[in-house]
Amino acid sequence: MGQFIIRRTCYSIITLFILSLTIFTVVRLTGDPVTLMAEPGVRPEDLARIRTQWGLDRPWPVQYLSFVKNIFTGELGKSFNYRMPVSELYFQRLPNSLELAFAATLVSLLIGVPAGLISAVRVNSWWDNLGKVVALLGLAIPGFWLGLVLILVFAVWLGWLPTSGQGDWRHLIMPAVALGWYFAAALLRLTRSSMLEVLRSEYIKLARLKGLPEYVVIAMHGFKNALVPVFTLAGINLVVMVNAAVIIEVIFAWPGIGRLLFEGIFQRDFPLVQGVTVLAGIMIVVVNLIVDILYAYIDPRIRLTK
């Protein structure tokens, strides 16, 4: 087990190294970040001054080292616009993003898991077909368009819900549904296939042979085991939602990390865009590492075969 953790951690460190190198290279290959940031018609002296201020006139390897140092000290450079460390801005917004992501995860679980369960228990029935349609629409309806339509119907026409901003639970409903929609479809498919696999297994046959009532077989023996991969995916989705809910946060004026990234794009604040991207990558690599270790802990086959 110890060996597995060490090897897996090494892989994650390599992944993070390549990630940082990629982001660093892209920023410098695609043109001068200073000209990207500066307003049109800026004087050359000003450009040079900004360049020195940001250390962009130093050789690339030196720049890369200070970039990595910035990551390790957790500062990630200063936002051009806010004149604050990017990490400070990121962690200021993190609770808001977490709130929205938790609500969206709840929505996706509430839609995806029961629907997937019914589809699996009643395979090829009317319910299963309905589930397939929902799964297909989950992929096909862009979440941000769903958000716009929700605003149109529930805020503009019916006037039941506030259109945007952060406040009580009513502010949370529409963004959570719009964000959770896509993930609900993914959870539906996973619940269905995982449940089908479990229902085919030997211990389910045994439980039925013992003469247990069908609902006990499904609820106690089947469902419980089918949920492990489902909750893993929900957990990974949660981290993705925290970092990637850009459009939903923009539409609903939700002060989260996605909106921070959007502000970064709009104000040509390249340290902000770079920093948020790096932090999103770090967060996801770390969560994947934790999930892998937990899985290996639960299931010895994983740590022995890899």
Binding site: Y11, I18, L19, V27, G31, L139, V149, T163, A280, V285
Partner: protein, 301 residues
């Protein structure tokens, strides 16, 4: 229906063979996705001819924010209404279809060929090549696709061809991982071993024996990712880092519609979204059909 040249006494199979090859293929194609995709492709190709107005010039004499024709205030001149500059929405949708399809197809093509090439190299050559390619794949997969695409788009600047390259760079990793896995098992198969023993060069083995065997998987992946790429393009255009205005794209049309959503001008928001929905739905259905057709093992899933 049946070809007249078919012999009078023939088993049913022979009769079916009498049909031209392309017609048999068409008859086997799935109806629903084709009903959406074929008109869409035609519309995208002939947008210049079909579109009633110039998509970037206001309709002469039309009001701004004219509603669709059946509503009070709407006119038959602009069937689906006009936008904030008085431009015809129908024409913009038709030209937007072209952008969506070009980006969807080209982006998938870039991602697919890059991913398949690197996946084959990693799987077949193994060793440090494999290590390098797979570690890069892991790292690039770690970023959420949209965040990575936004980052690249901010750095490269907005244009349609940049978006194609960006989406190719974001989505190739998925292909590389799957195809490497396939190649790892192909490499152990006898026909590959025999070709190697017979003295075939690596390049020949890859071209003659590996590539044809991973093409099916690549096609299935491609048909399933076209929709994802189209939504990604719409998302980038919505955020203002995609296809730059005034070129009509469904995503930027949605962005322009945001400011008037509160005023209840629903047609500006509903039409472009419905277009995205239909296209993605059709490509998904087509992908599912292709998957079942090309890979019988997957039929039970």
């Amino acid at each position: 229906m049946v070809s007249t040249t078919a012999p009078t006494v023939s088993p049913p199979v022979e009769a079916a063979r009498g049909l031209p090859r392309w017609l048999r293929l068409v008859r086997a194609w799935p109806l629903l996705p084709m009903l959406i995709l074929v008109p869409l492709i035609l519309v995208a190709l002939c947008a210049d001819v079909i579109a009633p107005y110039d998509p970037i010039q206001p309709v002469p004499g039309a009001k701004i924010y004219a509603p669709p024709f059946w509503m009070p205030g709407g006119s038959m001149h602009a069937l689906l209404g006009t936008d904030f500059q008085g431009r015809d929405i129908l024409s913009r949708l038709l030209f937007g279809a072209r952008v969506s399809l070009i980006v969807g197809v080209m982006g998938t093509l870039v991602a697919g060929s890059l991913g398949a090439a690197l996946g084959i190299l990693a799987g077949y050559l193994g060793g440090w090549v494999d290590q390098v390619i797979m570690r890069v794949t892991d790292a690039w997969l770690a970023l959420p696709a949209l965040v990575f695409a936004i980052f690249l788009a901010t750095m490269l600047g907005p244009s349609m061809w940049n978006i194609i390259i960006i989406l190719g760079l974001v989505y190739w990793t998925r292909y590389a991982r799957v195809i490497r896995g396939e190649v790892l098992s192909l490499r152990e198969r006898e026909f590959v071993k025999l070709a190697e023993i017979a003295g075939a060069r690596r390049w020949r083995v890859i071209r003659r024996h590996i590539l044809p065997n991973v093409l099916n998987t690549t096609m299935i992946l491609a048909s399933l990712t076209i929709g994802v790429v189209i939504i990604a393009e719409a998302s980038l255009s919505f955020l203002g880092v995609g296809v730059p205005p005034p070129q009509p794209a469904w995503g930027s049309m949605l962005a322009e519609a945001r400011s008037t959503l509160m005023a209840g001008k629903w047609w500006l928001t509903v039409w472009p979204g419905l277009c995205i929905l239909l296209v993605v739905l059709a490509t998904q259905l087509f992908g599912d059909w292709l998957r079942v057709r090309l890979d019988p093992q997957l039929r039970n899933l």
